[in-house]
Amino acid sequence: MSDAPLGINSTVSASHRDAAPPRPLWQVIFVRPETLTFVLLVLAIFAGGQLSPYFLDIRYILDSFTLTAELSLLALILTLVIIAGEIDLSPASAMALSACLFAYAMSFDWPMWICVFIGIGSGLIMGAINAALIIGLQLPSIIVTIGTLTLYRGLAQVIAGDKSIRVPEWYIGIDKVQILGLPAPDLIFIIAAIALAFVLGMTVWGRQIYQTGTNETAAIYAGIRTRRIKTVLFLATGVTASIAGMIFISRLGSVRYDLGLGGELQMVLMAMLGGTYIFGGRGTILGTFLAALLLSVISTGMTTANLLPATQLCVLGVLLVLSIIATNFIYSRTQR
């Protein structure tokens, strides 16, 4: 024992040599996908201003954001679902169905609390259906949610038909309501972003979402209740969809079965542009928040410059490809 052989000491110092040096702090803060989103946002604001002199009006930009506020809200909750390793393509259709049910209930002049109950309850049920199929029956989430998105859209069409259901006058105009100088939908979006960012970044539960997405098997063995986490996320998505639907109705004054048609792609686009990794385990609310702003600024800027939709689609497509390349590049380089 007293004559410790040289081997032991060299083993100890060898383990020190094997440890990789930590990344410099500036890299951790700046070299991440959200930086690209932020840079693109600044460029987009600048480009919008160049394309049209009428664009750089902060009031106008904030008002224009209300047009995509509902889908942006859904993109935020979708970020959590994607980080947990699943995907949910049904929120846009769920939004339409719960909105149709809500408006239908209001057309019977039932008390408001019953209508709200029906609206949010239907969102909860739709999320529960998703959860039951995906987690209960262990089916792939992308296939299940493609199925449920078609189902919910079809049910919405059965309820509303080809007509629009109007709502009472007093309910219309949430985008005209200004709180703290912001249109109400924008404020709801910001509050939701702050709340979800807190949950994701600062709570144990948020940490567990990341772990579930990184490696579900390892998380299960570590004692994390992945099934419960995912169930809660799908239920939350359903409820958020119904809330978004109620905001949508207030903005448009009526609801049709094709509310938010194609919105599922836009939501996933926002999450992707925000640097969320499609296979789970990586992503931030900040990224999705910036991406939602980016999309709104781009479409508003191009519409104000009277650019035709064909051009807008091209630009969005290029952006999506760029951001996917950048996201994957950054994640693969920083993989440890």
């Binding site: 080809d162 629009s164 004054g253 479409s299 519409t303 009277n306």
Partner: protein, 333 residues
């Protein structure tokens, strides 16, 4: 706060530059079509462009990618932001845009619905310019179809979008004519389908009609996208000798179908005249030369005297024009 100041400063700078450039022109008018990729609106745009060359106004055409009920709202908002003087729109919905049109009028923008009206919401627009009296379009189309099929048989309608106010006005009148006029008692309307003014969907719906209703003898397609798709399906299937397609079509798109016998006749008006009239009307109202009240008569070059009818509606011509082999070559739109 700082960001707001910087943005405001930049906006002011750009605004000054822009207004200096703008000082030379008369007024700014924009036409918002139902959707892009629809050649019908190119004709109306042509009328606007030529009229604006004569009057000295600035014209731009924009349209959303799809003709959904709410797709035009962001575009109207953008035009308000750009400070145009006149918004002319072919509405995709009778009521979805009421709030935003009111916002435009509150800013002093003249709101014209061109080529279709916001049925039931007429109070939200200043005036409406139609090509013909739309209450007569439905019966005219039924008569044309009847004359082709011997006034008996099963027919169907291939329309545009479910919310389109113009098509819905015509379809309602068609159903009424079929129900009430004894001349058409042997004609039966079995289905109304919607092609959303998209060539692919119109083709699919047409194929579905032919499969689901084997006794169908005719289709009325009161939309230029629909009639072109329906004619193409009939031509590919080679059933032109026993199946009749008619409706509202553009001569340029339907010329080949008429010449090879797929379609014997169809109707339309001159969309060009709508743009022409709209520009002159807007110019007159903005200059105070035309009063926007029912009963006013005013003159427009090439169109003669136009009267403002009830609910501030104007028609560019009296009757539909029927196109067939004898006259199709005379038109180049």
């Amino acid at each position: 706060m700082l960001k707001k100041t910087v943005l405001a400063g930049l906006a002011l700078g750009f605004g000054l530059m822009a207004s200096a450039a703008m000082a030379a022109s008369n007024f700014k008018v924009v036409y918002i079509g139902k959707n892009t990729g629809n050649p019908y609106f190119d004709s109306i745009t042509g009328g606007f462009v030529d009229a604006c060359k004569k009057i000295g106004c600035e014209f731009e055409f924009v349209a959303p990618a799809t003709a959904e009920a709410t797709s035009q709202i962001p575009f109207i908002e953008a035009q308000i932001q750009r400070g145009v003087n006149v918004i002319a729109i072919a509405p995709n919905s009778p009521d979805a845009m009421n709030q935003v049109l009111d916002k435009a009028r509150a800013k002093g923008i003249l709101v014209l619905t061109v080529n279709g009206d916001i049925v039931g919401s007429e109070g939200h627009r200043d005036a409406n310019i139609l090509p013909v009296d739309f209450t007569k379009t439905g019966p005219n189309q039924v008569e044309l179809m009847g004359s082709m099929i011997g006034y008996k048989g099963e027919i169907a309608i291939l329309s545009a979008t479910t919310e389109a106010p113009d098509q819905n006005t015509w379809i309602k009148a068609m159903k009424k004519t079929l129900a009430e006029n004894p001349k058409y008692k042997d004609m039966k309307l079995v289905a109304t389908v919607y092609g959303d003014d998209q060539p692919e969907k119109s083709t699919t719906e047409m194929e579905a009609l032919l499969s689901n209703y084997p006794n169908l003898v005719g289709v009325i397609a009161p939309t230029t996208v629909g009639i072109a798709a329906a004619a193409q399906v009939v031509k590919s299937r080679g059933i032109a000798n026993k199946f009749h397609v008619t409706g509202l079509g553009l001569p340029s798109e339907m010329r080949d179908f008429v010449k090879d016998g797929t379609v014997s006749a169809f109707q339309l008006w001159s969309p060009y005249n709508e743009g022409w009239l709209a520009a002159y009307f807007a110019d007159g109202v903005l200059n105070g030369k035309i009063k926007n009240t029912v009963g006013t008569k005013f003159d427009v070059p090439n169109l003669g005297s136009i009267t403002i009818l009830e609910k501030n509606v104007m028609n560019t011509q009296a009757e539909l024009t029927t196109f067939d082999k004898s006259n199709i070559d005379k038109f180049n739109f």
